[in-house]
């Protein structure tokens, strides 16, 4: 594809603006200009946009709702915990006895190791399971992926209970003396990787193939799209991206099994539905809306938060099935090229 055409598209400009925004936020934070609260908010926001975009590749672009996508977030966080708390714990403990923070070289080694391990496991699971369940369509796929989430979660809990000295289902990471700025930059690297991957997939030939599968799978097959292979690729890519965000959250929260929770799948799905299916900007806007709404609801409504969130999903699905971005595209045609 022509590079200059790719760069001049509005989606690329928006993603670059977002990356630039988070870069400025991070620079301000590391110079102590803005408080740590903004840094924490920025980290959370990157995480939510990241998991939304990872899910978008299979759900929004391809039209297959994977209810168990949290399993790949869980795989990522489990691999990070495995690298830190099982493989390298003695080394980290030894180093931490002399210094108050592990060296950048060690940190980046472990980070890259976790990325590699998580990608390999996520790829194996996604391709293996994808070969079986991607033959199913619509609701059957959704239900099979719910099952996948439980199976892998219980298997991982089973494995962890054998290697963890606590005998429980959680692997705590050792204390590495990292600050929230380190976590912020870690999230930032993954954010760049995710947002440009999602954008490139959307505008490439592969992305058009996925769009044709979403609109009409039989017609796509007739015009020569290798639908099954495309679906497996999309599922694998979405899995690997989701596992990256599991790593980020494992480094930050230092616990693992929470990331298998169905609640994370719910967040991913809600973001995509609210933003609008079939668009690149949709999951981003959905993530921002979800994040703000979640903050507001938890602080003002307390226990009613889940009820309101559920009602919000019902309203969006019933009355604005094309999501917020789709609604804006329909109402304001001049915004169309910005909201691709």
């Amino acid at each position: 594809m022509n590079i200059s055409r790719l760069v001049s598209r509005k989606g690329f400009i928006i993603s670059t603006l977002l990356v630039f925004f988070f870069l400025v936020l991070g620079l301000l934070g590391s110079n102590g200009v803005i408080s740590r609260l903004y840094i924490a908010n920025g980290t959370d926001l990157m995480y939510f946009i990241g998991i939304g975009l990872a899910m978008a590749i299979i759900m929004s672009y391809t039209g297959y709702v994977s209810f168990g996508h949290a399993v790949f977030v869980g795989i990522g966080s489990f691999s990070a915990a495995y690298i830190l708390a099982v493989f390298n714990k003695p080394r980290i403990m030894e180093y931490m006895a002399q210094h108050d923070r592990i060296s950048n070289a060690m940190l980046s080694t472990y980070f890259i190791e976790s990325l590699l391990l998580a990608s390999i496991i996520a790829l194996l699971v996604a391709v293996g399971v994808g070969y079986a369940v991607l033959r199913l369509r619509g609701a059957f796929f959704a239900i099979a992926t719910i099952g996948l989430d439980y199976v892998v979660m219980y298997l991982v809990i089973y494995i962890t209970s054998m290697i963890s000295p606590f005998g429980g289902d959680e692997l705590p990471n050792p204390n590495m003396g990292l600050t929230d700025m380190t976590f912020y930059w870690m999230h930032f690297i993954l954010f760049i990787a995710t947002i440009y991957t999602a954008y490139l997939v959307k505008v490439s030939k592969f992305g058009y193939g996925l769009a044709s599968i979403r609109e009409d799978e039989d017609a796509a097959e007739v015009i020569g799209v290798d639908t099954f292979r495309y679906k497996v690729y999309a599922f694998a890519l979405a899995a690997v991206l989701a596992s990256f965000w599991g790593i980020a959250s494992a480094f930050r929260k230092s616990y693992t099994t929470h990331d298998f929770s169905l609640l994370i799948s719910i967040v991913m799905i809600v973001e995509n539905v609210v933003g609008g299916l079939g668009t690149f900007i949709g999951p981003i806007i959905g993530a921002v809306i979800y994040y703000i709404l979640n903050w507001l609801l938890i602080t003002t409504a307390g226990q009613l938060a889940l009820v309101i969130l559920g009602a919000f999903v019902v309203v969006i699905v019933a009355f604005f099935p094309e999501g917020i971005v789709g609604l804006l595209r329909r109402k304001i045609p001049s915004l169309r090229e910005w909201l691709e």
Partner: protein, 324 residues
């Protein structure tokens, strides 16, 4: 690692308890098979509705301690009646904007109804954590002895296996529920209309029947079955929390797929099969519930890949052929 305890005793216990558990599971999934299998609405709120009914009956039973009105056989009927109203509410709030018109379900409607019921389920799940703010005595973790007449548990011995009488009662009630569901779907004109609306809603409207009303009726019936089977689940498991949904709902989907969509008897057979597998794994491997759960889902994925029409897919055709 996994150690097998292959004794005849464990085997027998697995099969007997498995059959009872499977009978309850089959009844629990029958509401889902009506709404999903026949009307093609993937009701992800099924488990939440069921657990909602179970929580309500547990709460009422504990509040009016020992009152006959909330013991299983009667709570079963209460919840069924309440389910009729709740089903209408569920339909108008969630499904009517999506499927409330004369049209046969397509994949697009199927996916949006799936998302809408998903949202309804989250809301219903959230209500359990909100209710203690209004009703101080409402607990999200009631632990009860939900038995006949509120007299505590009595046991019965059968083939050397000791079973709680209340569990046997639940199995009997679940059989009643399944027969009622099968009867409604196959022996009444309403069941005929429900099956017709799934096949061709437009043709149905041409012969003077309002398909939207049939969709409403189906949702009401399915919800009533879901709510009364919530009491069965409570009676079997003896305790319930909002998180029970994460165990019941996936098992329901497994059973409906195993049984073949839209067949109540097939679903019941699927329930029996899954219950036996589940309990046998529990008894023979001495592992946790979670391990049995993994096996159940392995069964689902194998069934989905190799027999997408369900193991007991056309059992009703075979039955009617036998009758002739």
């Amino acid at each position: 690692m996994i150690e097998l305890t292959l004794t005849g005793d464990a085997f027998l216990r697995g099969i007997v308890i498995g059959l009872i558990y499977g009978s309850v599971l089959g009844a629990v999934a029958s509401g889902l098979t009506i709404i999903w299998g026949v009307m093609k609405v993937v009701n992800l709120a099924h488990g939440h509705i069921l657990v909602f009914a179970a929580m309500m009956s547990a709460f009422l039973y504990l509040t009016y301690k020992g009152a006959v009105w909330f013991t299983p056989p009667i709570a079963f009927i209460w919840m069924g009646i309440l389910g009729l109203a709740f089903g209408a509410f569920f339909y108008y709030v969630t499904l009517h904007p999506i499927i409330g018109h004369v049209d046969t379900m397509t994949l697009k409607y199927e996916m949006s109804s799936l998302m809408a019921t998903f949202g309804f389920g989250i809301a219903l799940y959230g209500i359990h954590y909100f209710l203690p703010n209004i009703i101080p005595s409402y607990s999200t973790e009631p632990s009860i002895g939900f038995s006949i007449g509120g007299q505590g548990h009595t046991y019965i011995s059968f083939l050397g296996v000791t079973i709680e009488k209340s569990k046997l009662l639940m199995a009997a009630l679940s059989l009643v529920l399944v027969i009622v569901a099968h009867g409604i779907m196959n022996w009444t004109s309403m069941g005929l209309k429900i099956r017709a609306v799934a096949q061709d809603a437009r043709a149905l409207s041409l012969v003077g029947i309002n398909p939207v009303r049939i969709k409403l009726l189906t949702t009401i019936v399915a919800t009533a079955f879901a709510m009364s089977s919530g009491v069965l689940y409570l009676g079997y498991a003896n305790s319930v929390t909002p998180l029970s949904e994460t165990i019941v709902a996936p098992l329901c989907f497994v059973i409906v797929v195993l049984g073949g969509l839209g067949s109540v008897i097939g679903t019941y057979m699927g329930g029996l099969l899954l219950g036996v597998i589940y309990q046998l794994v529990l008894e023979l491997t001495a592992q946790t519930q979670q391990f049995a759960f993994v096996v159940a889902f392995a069964v689902l994925i194998i069934a989905l890949v190799f027999k997408p029409n369900g193991v007991f897919g056309n059992i009703e055709e075979k039955l009617s052929r036998l009758r002739r």
